[in-house]
Subunit: 269 residues, 2 copies
């Protein structure tokens, strides 16, 4: 079982699953909802990430999902399961990191749940809004569209900056959009699959100190990946085409980004 | 550090924390949001709870929170972190339990997040609605109010029935309300603290096969605890009074219900 198999089980259960956020009709706006888990020894390590790094990064993941839909984030809810080593000072540090990012985007802490657990686990939910029918989806790319990314890729960041303003500016201009959380090769394959198209890319911008390998397959970039019929002031990396699959410099690009369950299977073999 | 200390750290960070749900203004309705964690070896055991029991019980916790505010649940979002032993058939069983309860309340699965982890972890978020300003809070009880519970207490249930219809019927009739998830003695103390009042109880209804001890201090009842100036067709267990603290049959009732962090401290000593 890999992540795609699991997501397919889930998609049969709900038409709302498939984009970075669920889009729920709510009067003149659509409500955006996204949840992201952040788990010790899966998404972070206790010895390399401070409490406030974790508070920041965890919120950044949710804000990046809202950004990818062109939305405005409003509230965050944080569920925390704390092991013995995470006491009051850890919790305070965590919320210090959380609030330093939340303030920049006027996001309010709405609540959450507390428990204990053998290792640290957190889950963040972000609620946002977008004008009705204006959410950017993965499924709108058509052949001939230019493919863009919002910044250089491949450099893992402890305090990623979610591209909320860029996402908002793309409403009505991008034909499809998602955020790069699991690596360009995997995420672009997902965008193409949702849009029933293929992609040819060549000029991938590589972050300072990063390799082309990590720019293509690394995760946690939190830049936006989007398509448009217009010329936009971002990094044009290629073109949407008919057919299926992604090519890089003319050769097929295997989707090798981060798959939670493929990863697990590999590890256990 | 106990749960109360932690909740105090959190309450200083957000005025929205303190009731079973956050209440967010949203036009003519208020949006209700609640999150609940369900963790292996903390909230359930793999050998005694089937996948579908867990799917049911986890959603029941969220629906019970919406019920306690007098609201109508609309969407649920499920974050799952799966250990090796929880494969595709476990996931299908989990969603079978989830949907059998969701259908009864017309709740739609809105989405969620998937990851792997060393032990099973899930977090459910439920979104609901209540007419503007009509949410039932913990803070409205006044001396002289009768204290009610919606059903007999003390019998742990694998498939609890959240009291959604009862909660809705209490709008405009109950002065304060919450759900009984951590035991009557602890939850009533919380309601009294939020309302700045005391309580005298005597006639606690005990579920079949349960002891008065578990009716007073057991958790996971998922009945509603509420106060009203009216006579209502539920179990009247006592009266709200001035002062502080709860008495049972005239003697002080120590709040001994389930505190996640007090529990942990006890265990580690």
């Amino acid at each position: 079982m890999n992540e795609r198999d699991l997501v397919r089980i889930l998609q049969r259960q709900s038409p709302l699953i498939g984009d970075d956020c669920a889009v729920l009709p709510n009067g003149r706006t659509d409500l955006l909802v996204t949840t992201d888990q952040f788990i010790e020894d899966v998404h972070f390590r206790r010895d390399t990430h401070s409490a406030s790094d974790i508070g920041w990064a965890m919120l950044a993941r949710g804000l990046s999902d809202i950004a990818s839909m062109g939305g405005t984030p409003d509230y965050a809810f944080v569920s925390l399961a704390l092991p013995e080593w995470a006491g009051a000072s850890w919790v305070k540090g965590f919320y210090r990191g959380f609030h330093s990012l939340a303030k920049r985007h006027s996001v309010k802490l709405g609540g959450g749940d507390l428990s204990h657990a053998a290792s640290l686990y957190c889950d963040v939910l972000v609620l946002g809004a977008v004008p009705r029918g204006k959410a950017l989806l993965r499924s709108g790319a058509t052949p001939g569209d230019t493919i863009y990314v919002s910044g250089p890729l491949g450099r893992p960041k402890k305090r990623p900056q979610p591209r909320v303003e860029i996402g908002q500016s793309l409403r009505g201009r991008a034909t499809a959009c998602m955020d790069l959380s699991d690596g360009l090769s995997l995420d672009l394959a997902r965008l193409c699959e949702a849009s029933c198209v293929g992609a040819e890319i060549s000029a991938v911008p590589v972050g300072r100190g990063a390799s082309i390998e990590s720019a293509l397959h690394g995760g946690e970039d939190y830049e936006l990946l989007f398509t448009s019929r217009r010329r936009l002031p971002y990094f044009a990396i290629g073109t949407i085409c008919t057919g299926r699959g992604v090519t890089f410099d003319g050769t097929p690009l295997e989707p090798r980004g981060y798959d939670h369950f493929a990863q697990r299977t590999t590890r256990s073999r």
